[in-house]
Subunit: 462 residues, 2 copies
């Protein structure tokens, strides 16, 4: 799909399905409406329960960070200082110290970690919070994708040993993969970012991204190995069994819920509208009774209610569409909203206890008996199909190229694997066409100079 | 309990049980730790599901409000302008318009309502969000009770008819009563505030409060009838069936989660520590296996695991305390944390499949067979007892007085019913000893001058 075409479709989805309202009077800060918040809350609860099973505790840290706290780690503040919103007054009183709206919470949290950690028995610390963060983006903002306030979950840790921090990173990779791929059916690339593109203050950053229909990649989550950078400046020190004092090893990570929602809309949608994975759909099944004008529809209405009751009892989120619109108009509206399953039931069906089951993901219709409807299996089948379809689409848009000309041609269509020798001059040419997402360990000749190099992953990014 | 005594006990509870940490470097903004956030999240989910069953949609509105939007309703801004934190810069750039950290969201939301409402079919609007709000308190701050950032849920509505707004107020009264009294077992007074104490911009305010052990009342939630004050200035206008344009009728409301948690701690606690209602306790049952030094404890450990498994299967949040502390030390620690049920199991119990069940609320111990433990019934009994006990305590601290001397004596001990003639001079004397929480419709002679007046409710407040 072309860029403008996708952009137009995407904004139409956001508006017609009441997802966000971009007319709020602060630019770059949209209002999240019921539909969006329902889905985001499903993601949030799923993620929080995985993190807590893994030993994380939920916390809430203040939304503002004093200037001196935010500034303690020099790379960190250098990375964020242009993006920070500053509170300078309370009422009519100027504040003694400026307060930053949290752009991320490493500094506020680690100030407290240094109070919480004394001996090895105070470790590990694994905490998470779901909050909004504020970053004054100077790039073009896009609702859910790049906004000046966004909703995320951030996890933060401190460990006694480096190996524990590394194991934690592997565990979080699995947890985020469950969230993104299992729950949301979105295929992901997991890559270590080039050194120049890591989180300010980290040793390295691992990014999760998916491919949007316009050929750009969208980063939806990151994990940072912070090493001992922050524990050093915040003095997070523990005493081990031998009485020796050591710095803690730290990691931090977070997925953005707005970007995940944008990915759900973009990755799964089609020309008819959105397609939602059953587990997160605000309405999982819509029942459309086939009603006739000037006829006694009571039996059909009763039958629809019976179907509704059967499903509600199973914990399914159901709606019945009694409106007097034309069936085609009803189908159009529910399809656009991405409702995974539509059940049609008319006067002829109810005699044999039959229903018509229409799947949003395949568009297929099937007539079955009501009692043979295994809804949770159907939901699983839909999710499996969506996951598989999205994966194949992303694979089909992954290209391996040798030359800068091929690279130039393919970048913008999808994810491109090329080579780079490591020289700045060669990187400059690559940078002009796309972003180097990752530099792998594999050998690959340089797309620019043809010299020996390593395999890189390049794409246009959001 | 005396004021200083309670204050000392309360702060000890917060610290020893890891509820909040007040050492964060912004005064009046504590860090909520895992224990607090678990309980707050239980409250939040319970409340959100009640609100959504009632037709509310979850939303998320930006955390900042432009100065001109916040200032549109004159009473509203007059009430909040001294308390607002102002964002003035983004990075190094001064902002064109100052942005307020939301002290409450009427203005940001109603700006959007005016875009969302065109005809009567766009009404009612019923939305809610769980967010943090910021108010620069000049009074003495107290963790969970009065802080400069606090977590709440705020509900906002717009209706076509005044009667609908009034019915909504009654529905919210029931919902908040369920949250506070059913879930948290806290007795409440529901009173309309005197006119001088209403929410800035409201027609009137209804407050929910409970009584703390030091004799002060704590306001935990409010409901505001906004009439057409905000719909007028924000131009929330709908066209009815006849084509006439009318202003919408509005309400807003919110409980504070920090204050509710403070009430749970204060209302139910005793000299041993906290007592938590089973439904919200992070740990609902602690199993203490009776272990002996230099003995083979394997059978007892296996038995404890069996009990744990039995309860976990029923969805109970259980912990087993395998630590090698003295049993007394273990009991002390778990009692202080308010765990509702402790199960002890030693070598003699396991032969007959017996357990010792100790209730935190009554302190009673009972030996029963494991298979006869009906845990959900036990939880209900505990909650019922806690609710009843707290109610009786509040009733026993409710006084009816006739004179200003009696009022002076009783205020500070609890809730006092007195009389007031309506004259300012008489109110001044009453104000010197306590706060008039409400003026009822009942007749009652004035405590100050003895003249004809109405019954008032007076207390020392937080």
């Amino acid at each position: 799909m072309k860029e403008e075409e996708f952009s137009e479709w995407y904004h139409r989805m956001l508006e017609e399905n009441n997802i966000v309202d971009i007319r709020y009077s602060v630019k770059g800060m949209p209002v999240y409406r019921g539909f969006a918040m329902f889905i985001i809350r499903e993601m949030q609860r799923y993620l929080e329960s995985l993190l807590e099973e893994n030993g994380h505790e939920p916390v809430y840290f203040p939304g503002v960070i004093p200037e001196d706290t935010l500034g303690r780690e020099s790379e960190h503040i250098a990375g964020f200082e242009d993006q920070v919103y500053w509170v300078t007054h309370a009422g009519k009183t100027p504040l003694e110290r400026r307060l930053a709206l949290r752009p991320t919470s490493e500094t506020s949290m680690y100030e407290m970690f240094s109070l919480w950690v004394r001996t090895h028995s105070d470790l590990p610390i694994k905490i998470h919070e779901t909050v909004s963060v504020y970053r004054y983006e100077t790039k073009h903002t896009r609702p859910l994708i790049r906004s000046r306030e966004f909703l995320w979950n951030e996890g933060h840790t401190a460990f006694a040993m480096r190996e524990e921090a590394l194991r934690n990173i592997e565990e979080i990779k699995l947890i985020y993969t469950k969230l993104i791929n299992d729950l949301l059916c979105i295929p992901i690339l997991i890559n270590q970012r080039p050194d120049w593109d890591k989180f300010p203050g980290a040793e390295y950053t691992i990014a999760f991204e998916t491919l949007m229909p316009d050929g750009r990649t969208l980063q939806v989550a990151t994990i940072h190995n912070l090493g001992q950078h922050f524990s050093k400046v915040f003095n997070i020190v523990y005493e081990n069994e031998k009485g020796e004092k050591n710095l803690a090893w730290q990691t931090s990570y977070g997925p953005g819920f707005g970007r995940l929602l944008a990915a759900v809309i973009g990755v799964h949608g089609d020309e008819k509208g959105m397609i939602l994975p059953p587990k997160i759909a605000p309405t999982q099944v819509v029942i459309v009774p086939v009603l006739f004008k000037n006829a006694d529809n009571q039996q059909v209405i009763d039958y629809a209610k019976k179907i509704e009751e059967t499903l509600t009892k199973k914990g399914v989120r159901v709606k019945v569409d009694y409106s007097d619109e034309h069936p085609g108009a009803k189908y159009y509206r529910w399809e656009r909203q991405g409702v995974p399953v539509r059940i049609e039931a008319g006067p002829r069906d109810l005699k044999d206890n039959k229903i018509v089951v229409a799947r949003r993901d395949t568009g297929k219709k099937e007539v079955i008996r009501l009692e043979s409807l295994d809804i949770s299996r159907l939901f699983d089948e839909i999710a499996d199909n969506m996951r598989e379809k999205a994966k194949k689409k992303m694979e089909s848009k992954t290209y391996k190229v040798k030359t800068i000309d091929e690279l130039t041609k393919r970048v913008g269509e999808g994810i491109v694997e090329a080579g780079w020798c490591g020289e700045k001059d060669c990187a400059k040419q690559i940078d002009q066409v796309g972003t180097i997402l990752s530099i792998t360990e594999d050998q690959h000749e340089c797309a620019t100079c043809g010299g020996r190099g390593r395999r890189i992953i390049v794409a246009k990014t959001y």
